[in-house]
Symmetry: none
Subunit: 205 residues, 4 copies
DNA sequence: GATGAATGAGGATTCATTCAT
DNA sequence: GATGAATGAATCCTCATTCAT
């Protein structure tokens, strides 16, 4: 089942410590600025030991990214089907979704940074995520929960960009809780910024 | 007046070519992955010439960031006063603002990436920008153009994150024009995503 | 106990070889003219190995100087107390002292050159040495073995300068033995050059 | 008459400034540590101008050394013949000689350091100087002014080493005057250090 | 005579990676 | 499984020197 090493208990432990250390260092300083020696220092091992578990520095990056993708898949699969919601439940559901994403990001903050900033696949991953969101949005649109006339790809980008930026700005440093942040974000995304809306902007019958 | 070198026309040219080349390389490959030799190759000079104009690789990064900040300041100073707008003019004005930002980002795309991803000051700069936007939002809010009950800091982050992400996604690669993108973004940000709004969400008298 | 590296026998050996090689090269060609590549070549290692043991080229110089100072301290501590000598024993004792210094210099010839010519501390070290000699001279003076009317600082400088210069000139290249050289130097320093001395220059009663 | 350049007045001036600057820098920091850019900076010229007057950095060193040798020759030629002195005049004469040498060194302090420390010819020059002194000593010996039983080469080394070291130590930094230093040195060199001399050490008849 | 620009050939230092134990 | 020692291939930066004006 296990991919490469980790035959023994102890080896498994070491390998894990290396992954954690690498995630942290990559997140803090970036892939290039992080030296293998930094990683092993943080993991309490020697350089040579690193190569017992990973064939190269790049390899551990890929593994971290792979792990993130795996987490993401798990998270994505827990996604709800949407169609059955009553219109009045949509806002709360959406708010909850945002909170869930925030919680997910918080739990994987190091991996997030690695996957989204340091990985060569960053762009691809970004699009995977916004793709998921877009798909979800499309379902909601089909269900009539989302306004006509919106570009759904932009909507998706807007949702994720806002969540992601807000997480970096207030969530990861503990300045705001996932719950509060989710409310504030939802409030903007759901009803927009403007105080006044044009005359003809009425709810569809 | 002139900072360091470049007393003569030719020197000025060389210095400029180096800045451009560095911006491009940093934007494409990142600061660390970019070698000084890459920069000078792209600029058609030798390594030694680089150090005629910049004391170190880091220095040219700072200069690029400084240049971006300068551009930003120029752009920011051209910002409109907001209060006098009639409510009905607000949406169009806002759409125009977004288009202006997009155009600014497009014109400085390399610098944007350098300043926002590669610079040690990235976070600071990010906050400078969102700070500007937040300030603008606050003025609009005072003028009654923006809904009550929104967290303005989140609004600002939302605006910039969306614009920035969209620029990276569709503007820089030419998939969408600034004008179109601005419309699509404005549409989301102004009125939100939801098709239905709660009963009590009525325009204030 | 051990300073930096060299936990194992082999490492210790390598570190030592580097020190020796550096001493030799610095002594032969001077600090600046000696390349790290010269040192490692002479030590049979690669450039990178050098930095396993020393953080910089300058660092190995300091260590060499430190080693010299250490040797010097050891040598200095073995210095005799002087007061108890009978006047008739003083010349022989002094001659012996000179020979001891010569032998010390010979044994540490590379270090001597490094410490006295190549080190930034050269002046300080020079003064340390002459300081020791001056102190010794002062004791001898208090014991009545040294003439009145001499500037003891000049005496010390004279002694060391002569010994040092003579070592460079005849000892290090094997042209004269320490024993012979000590005799010849002592002969000059003890009784001076002049054949005739003034009438009133009589031994004190 | 002039060697290389210096056709015009201004050129001559520039060339001279470069020599002076080089002497000073070499003396202060050593040949290798001194950059051509240091020299020209101190001389108020550009790097390219340097090569108008000297084919290389090494060349200016040689010229400085040559200049020193020239000065030395001039100084040496003014040396007195010695034989005719009455024994009672010898000490004063010798003291005067020492003072003259000190004065010469002081006047050429930069060149001295360059020639004696930084030049590849340093050893040769050193021997030239001690050779002169030895020759002078031999004359004095022949004239009966110098004791039997001394190794004249050691005597010469002793004289010069003492003078040179003392100059570096007290003369160049102004702590002692040439006159005073000459007295103190002469006192040691002439009669030695010991307070008591053996019974049989009597002036020769 | 003098300059600003430019360069070629290093030189110190770093770092991912391998080897022997 | 783990280590200390060692390495090769860069990479940044320097500096004496040349060129065009």
């Amino acid at each position: 089942m296990s991919k490469k090493r980790g035959r023994t208990e102890k080896g498994e432990k070491s390998r894990h410590r290396l992954m954690e250390a690498a995630a942290e260092e990559f997140a803090r300083s970036g892939y290039h600025a992080t030296k293998v020696s930094d990683i092993v220092k943080a993991a309490g091992l020697t350089q040579a030991a690193f190569y017992l578990y990973f064939p190269s520095k790049e390899a551990i990056l890929s593994e971290l990214v792979a792990e993130f993708k795996q987490q993401l898949r798990v998270f994505g699969d827990s996604g709800s089907n949407v169609t059955a919601l009553a219109p009045s439940d949509v806002p709360a559901k959406m708010r909850q979704n945002i909170e869930d994403v925030l919680t997910f990001l918080l739990k994987n903050r190091e991996l997030v940074r690695v996957a989204l900033y340091e990985s060569p696949e960053a762009t691809v991953i970004h699009e995977e995520i916004t793709g998921l969101i877009r798909e979800n949005a499309r379902k909601n649109w089909l269900a009539g929960h989302i306004r006509e006339g919106l570009a759904l790809d932009v909507v998706a980008e807007c949702i994720f960009a806002t969540i992601h930026a807000s997480a970096e700005r207030w969530l990861f440093n503990g300045e705001k809780s996932a719950k509060q942040l989710a409310s504030e974000i939802a409030e903007v995304l759901q009803y927009g910024m403007l105080a006044h809306r044009p005359k003809n902007d009425l709810p569809k019958a």
